[in-house]
């Protein structure tokens, strides 16, 4: 009996030892954008935005501060928010963005709203993720003209940031965690509750009859072939000028107009861009990658001609415009 209990004692010690060793490391799950699907018909060409997204609130606070912090630029003159003004539908309303010291950036600044739903970032899709994108303007000499060295030094000297980074990431500020914080903040920039989303969810009076007619045309004319999915675009590449050479016709075909070709250098990618999202499109003029078109009407016409090979009537365009205007959503209860 006594002998048995001693054996049990020693066996227990050995087992405890094994358990201790085995419990020495468990991965923790990262915070990811999760979109609850619920009752929405995901099989339809367009799906509505969710009411809210789950993201780490502490990171959102930190990311927003960084997003608004001009010290991230070389001379402290601009911040992310300078070109992606959240009060202006996340854009600057300029044909192409302006960097520090008034430098002209080659492309139109796309809205930061719902950018998390794009399958790639940048017009030519060269950034695979928001995290990757975040560092690009900071390090671009024509934009914020800064560097990770500069930015991390600035943030480390700031007690508030130091504490935040220490609390959230258990590390001082670095390229990875700054990018993470910015991307996390951007994931929170979702604009649900657009009239059309309400329409999709069953509120048939949410949009006007003109918009309804526009929605019919949008489908029948084929716009929806590219502008589909939850972000109504932003989930594929397409050639600008499938049905005609837009750049030849306008007598302007710059390097930046070559689109994805600049990334892959494949002929098939010439003039190929990421299909932009049409959410809040009525609020984000001017249009196209170079901001060359000021109004929606003209943009719809160009799209009909060069992408669909159709000449849309004024009435048709106006109805489509009405539909596009129903795509304007709200951010934190405030409609754009």
């Amino acid at each position: 009996m006594k002998k048995n209990s001693e054996l049990a004692k020693s066996t227990a010690i050995v087992i405890l030892f094994i358990v201790f060793v085995a419990s020495c490391g468990k991965p923790n799950s990262p915070s990811e954008l999760t979109i609850p699907i619920g009752a929405v018909d995901v099989s339809g060409p367009i799906t509505p935005l969710p009411d809210h997204v789950s993201v780490n609130p502490a990171k959102v606070v930190l990311g927003q501060r960084l997003f608004n912090d001009t010290r991230l630029s070389a001379d402290g003159s601009i911040a992310c928010v300078t070109c992606h003004d959240l009060r202006a539908a996340g854009v600057d309303h300029l044909p192409t963005a302006r960097g520090i010291k008034g430098q002209v950036v080659g492309r139109n600044a796309p809205t930061v709203f719902n950018s998390a739903l794009n399958f790639r970032q940048m017009w030519d899709g060269r950034a695979v993720s928001l995290e990757e994108q975040a560092g690009m303007p900071i390090n671009n000499p024509k934009e914020m003209a800064s560097s990770w060295v500069h930015v991390t030094a600035v943030l480390k000297s700031d007690p508030w940031y130091s504490r935040q980074f220490s609390d959230i990431y258990n590390a001082p500020a670095n390229a990875a965690n700054i990018s993470d914080a910015l991307a996390t903040f951007e994931r929170s920039l979702i604009t649900p509750n657009a009239p059309f989303d309400r329409f999709l969810l069953g509120d048939k009076s949410a949009i006007s009859s003109s918009a309804l007619e526009g929605w019919r045309l949008f489908r029948e004319r084929g716009c929806i072939a590219c502008h589909q999915g939850i972000n109504i675009g932003g989930n594929m590449f397409q050639k600008f000028g499938v049905m005609g050479n837009f750049f030849h016709d306008r007598n302007k075909d710059d390097k930046l107009d070559q689109g994805r070709y600049n990334v892959t250098h494949e002929e098939r990618d010439r003039h190929v861009f990421k299909v932009p999202s049409l959410r809040n499109v009525a609020k984000t003029a001017p249009y196209f990658h170079d901001g060359s078109v000021n109004n929606l009407h003209e943009a719809v016409l160009i799209m009909g001609r060069y992408q669909l090979g159709q000449d849309l009537s004024t009435q048709e365009v106006e109805n489509i415009e009405a539909f596009l205007k129903s795509l304007t959503g709200c951010y934190q209860g405030q409609c754009l």
């Binding site: 006594k2 066996t11 060793v21 084929g222 929806i224 072939a225 999915g229 397409q238």
Partner: protein, 835 residues
């Protein structure tokens, strides 16, 4: 604490064992982790295969449905990408080359798939539009150009026809035909109005798009949905399964090794524990069973535990002591300095041992041997004290016994020679200081040797014990009685004021010893001779006093045993006594205090009273009866012996006449002093015979044997003259004076008196009996009569009668009595048989 070589080796063995168990446990853990990674990898493969299959379905969905939603397709594509990323990181951890290569290949494939999907999305979105609008565009051109001659309606119809064929099968032949009609239609464009040209351009754009995109779309669709694509991960799966199986064997091996080591360690641990438990049990048994008292305290000397021996030793219950401070057990017999020293030593050396006096619960003081050890902690601080107590009382008792034996006579338990010497010296110091008198008495039993020889040593020992007991009744606490050995005793009276005190004490001792002893059924009579030496008269040190007492004792023996004697000569006190006695003696003669007593002598052969012996007795009015042994020497020394002797002689002769009727002889003792004055003696004897008219033959003159040896020629002459007077000559105390038989033969001696010491012991002592017989035989041979003195028992009488002894005398018949009493005895004499 120093580690032995053995324990260091043992320790390192243990360390090695523990380390190897930890190492194998770690290996096992890693193995399990890797195993888990294989499982993860297989899960990922399943995920990848599902994603790939879902991708194919989403592709077909997007291709077939009128309105596509690429979010689903993109989602599956992302699943593939994420899965491969996971796989890549898992493969890095698994560290297998074949796997890594395969994953790298799959990554390439995935990029190709992504590219295919990209192409599919682009073409799928435009081709639907073109397919829908190509007929519209043709129709629109024909309708709008209804009035324009140049519109090639027929060619447009053929183009539409070719398009239908191409849509049916995008074969090279159909494509060539499509191209032909395409060029034909395009050829008319310069001839058209700009509006019509624009419409034609739209027709051509759609046609071109269909022509170019359709086969591409069909191709990408086919690739994305092919079986090859579905089987893409089979090889990875197979690779994983194979390596997993190999790894599984390694895992099992490590697991078995770990189990074995764990088992070995378990067994060793359990053995160690069991041994530890045994050791603990053993220690507990030793603690409980130890005859030594053991006490364990904490560093504050609070008692934590005591063993049964301690409780027994001290008379406490264990429960009473637990928690108490050790101070409660102190006896108070040890000084503060003692405890100070104890603690100093204990603190400095970690241990202390020594003798200590403690207390039992009942207050009894016990001597103990205490040994305390400190138990130290790792940092050298005291944790406990362990005290071991040995009861010394028993040892002390033994030591006491040994000491007693060293200083006492084992037989009688009286102080021996050593202790006597010590006591005597102390008493001498005391006497010198206090200017007191101090006496040393040497007591020697008379003829003790005879008892040993006749009754055996056991009887002798019993007699010595009896004597000791008797003497013990006479001594006081302040006195010391010691046995020097054999039959010699020394008596140190604690306090005496005068020689008379000493003598009275000595006489008292003689009186005590006079009563017979009953030993082994024998009745024994003992007399002693006592020599007394006195400080400061006879000496000032013990040895001298002992020597003087010894010589005095021999003196006492010499003067007749059963006697007390002082050293002769130089003792002033003694002289004083002599002088005193002389004066008293002179008065005594004047006052008729000296009387003559008679003891009858019986003829053992004819049963008649043969005669009497005349004996002097002094009854002092104050001192009472004074022994002849005491006053005769004084009388001899002072010349008073002459009148005393004359008085007795005359008295005896007259008395003999009074007993004429019985015809008794009368024996008169003549001292050496008288004998030396031979003329005077002869004159006196003659005068006494004349005056009394006693027949000379009825007068016996008794001489001591030793007297005969003093001056042989003188003695012979005197004896001859005495014989001429007609008196009989008797030799007293015969057998003790070493007289030569040859010499005896030549003397005119009539009677040999056998000394009472021989008679007394003849029943017990064969030698004495032999001597008695020899004396009787000798006397017969020489024609002498024999008189046996001191007959007390019937046995003695019987023996003497049987052996032909002529005459007997002693208490058996009558003790010395006055003439009147002897007369009564004579008148009542009815023979020996009636005594």
């Amino acid at each position: 604490m120093s580690l032995s070589k053995y324990s260091i080796r043992k320790l390192s063995l243990w360390l090695l064992l523990v380390l190897s168990v930890i190492a194998t446990a770690w290996m096992t853990y890693i193995a399990f982790q890797v195993n888990a990674r294989y499982q993860d990898a297989l899960d990922v493969i399943h995920g990848l295969e599902a994603a790939k299959s879902n991708l194919a379905r989403a592709t077909l969905d997007a291709r077939m449905k009128p309105l596509a939603n690429y979010d689903v397709l993109n989602g599956e594509l992302r699943q593939l990408s994420v899965g491969l990323d996971k796989m890549a990181s898992l493969v890095v951890q698994i560290d297998n080359n074949a796997l890594s290569t395969e994953v790298a290949r799959l990554r390439g494939d995935q990029e190709e798939t992504a590219s295919l999907v990209d192409s599919f999305r682009r073409d799928n979105s435009t081709i639907k539009n073109s397919l829908q609008y190509f007929p519209h565009a043709v129709h629109d051109l024909i309708l709008a150009g209804a009035h324009e001659k140049e519109i090639p309606r027929g060619d447009l119809a053929m183009l539409s026809h070719a398009m239908l064929l191409y849509l049916g099968q995008a074969s090279p032949e159909n494509r060539v035909q499509l191209e032909e009609w395409f060029s034909n239609v395009k050829r008319v464009r310069p001839n058209l109005s700009p509006a019509m040209a624009h419409k034609l351009d739209l027709v051509l754009a759609h046609a071109t798009n269909i022509r170019d995109a359709l086969p591409r779309l069909d191709d990408t669709t086919a690739q994305l949905t092919s079986q090859k694509s579905a089987d893409e991960f089979k090889q990875l799966h197979d690779l994983l399964t194979v390596t997993d199986r190999e790894h599984g064997r390694a895992v099992n091996l490590v697991l078995v090794l770990f189990m074995m080591l764990a088992a070995v360690m378990t067994i060793l641990l359990s053995q160690t524990w069991r041994r530890r438990a045994l050791e603990m049990k053993l220690a507990a048994t030793v603690f409980d069973a130890s005859p030594e008292g053991i006490m364990i305290t904490d560093a504050q000397t609070r008692i934590l535990n005591v063993n049964p021996a301690f409780c027994k030793m001290r008379g406490y219950d264990r429960e009473e002591l637990i928690g108490l401070k050790t101070g409660v057990l102190k006896s108070g017999k040890n000084s503060l300095e003692f405890y100070q020293d104890l603690w100093d030593t204990l603190t400095a050396n970690g241990q202390w041992s020594g003798e200590i006096t403690n207390r039992r619960k009942n207050g009894e003081i016990i001597p103990e041997w205490l040994s305390i050890n400190s138990i130290l902690g790792k940092r050298g601080e005291v944790l406990n004290y362990v005290a071991v107590f040995t009861d010394l009382s028993q040892r002390y008792e033994t030591e006491e016994k040994i000491r007693f034996l060293a200083y006492h006579d084992p037989l009688t338990s009286l102080p021996n020679r050593e202790l006597l010497s010590d006591r005597a010296n102390q008493a001498l110091l005391h006497a010198a200081r206090e200017k007191h008198m101090f006496a040393l008495m040497l007591i020697d039993l008379d003829h003790f040797k005879n008892i040993n020889d006749t009754l055996g040593h056991s009887a002798g020992d019993q007699l010595l014990i009896g004597v000791t007991k008797r003497l013990a009744t006479a001594i006081r606490d302040v006195d010391t009685l010691s046995r020097l050995g054999g039959d010699e005793f020394v008596f140190l009276p604690g306090e005496i004021k005068s020689l008379e005190d000493a003598e009275a004490l000595a006489l008292k001792i003689l009186a005590i010893l006079a009563e017979p002893f009953e030993i082994d059924g024998h009745t024994l009579r003992v007399t002693a001779s006592i020599g007394i030496a006195v400080y400061p008269d006879n000496g000032s040190d013990y040895e001298t006093l002992l020597r003087e007492a010894d010589s005095a004792m021999y003196n006492a023996k010499r003067i007749g045993r059963d006697n007390v004697s002082f050293p002769s000569g130089k003792t002033d006190e003694r002289m004083t006594e002599y002088l005193n006695l002389h004066a008293e003696l002179a008065n005594a003669i004047k006052n008729n205090e000296i009387q003559v007593h008679y003891q009858p002598q019986i003829n053992l052969q004819n049963d008649e009273i043969k005669g009497v012996e005349a004996l002097a007795r002094w009854t002092h009015p104050q001192l009472g009866s004074i022994s002849p042994a005491r006053f005769i020497p004084v009388a001899e020394a002072t010349g008073l012996i002459a009148p005393i002797g004359t008085y007795i002689l005359r008295e005896a002769c007259h008395q003999a006449r009074a007993w004429d009727r019985w015809g008794l002889t009368v024996a008169v003792n003549v001292s050496a002093v008288q004998f030396r004055r031979a003329d005077e003696l002869l004159h006196e004897i003659h005068g006494a015979l004349q005056d009394s008219g006693l027949e000379p033959s009825r007068l016996e003159i008794e001489l001591t044997e030793s007297l005969l040896m003093e001056n042989i020629e003188q003695v012979e002459a005197t004896l001859v003259q005495l014989k001429k007077l007609g008196v009989r000559i008797s030799i007293d105390d015969f057998g003790t004076g070493y007289s030569s038989l040859t010499y005896l033969k030549g003397l005119e001696i009539d009677v040999l008196k056998i000394d009472q010491s021989f008679v007394r012991d003849l029943e017990a002592d064969h030698d004495d009996a032999s001597i008695v017989v020899a004396i009787i035989q000798l006397a017969k041979a020489l024609g002498m009569d024999t008189v046996a003195e001191g007959i007390e028992t019937h046995g003695q009488l019987q023996f003497l009668m049987e052996n032909g002894c002529s005459v007997g005398q002693g208490y058996k018949f009558l003790r010395p009595q006055t003439a009147a009493e002897v007369t009564t005895f004579l008148e009542n004499w009815a023979g020996i048989g009636n005594t």
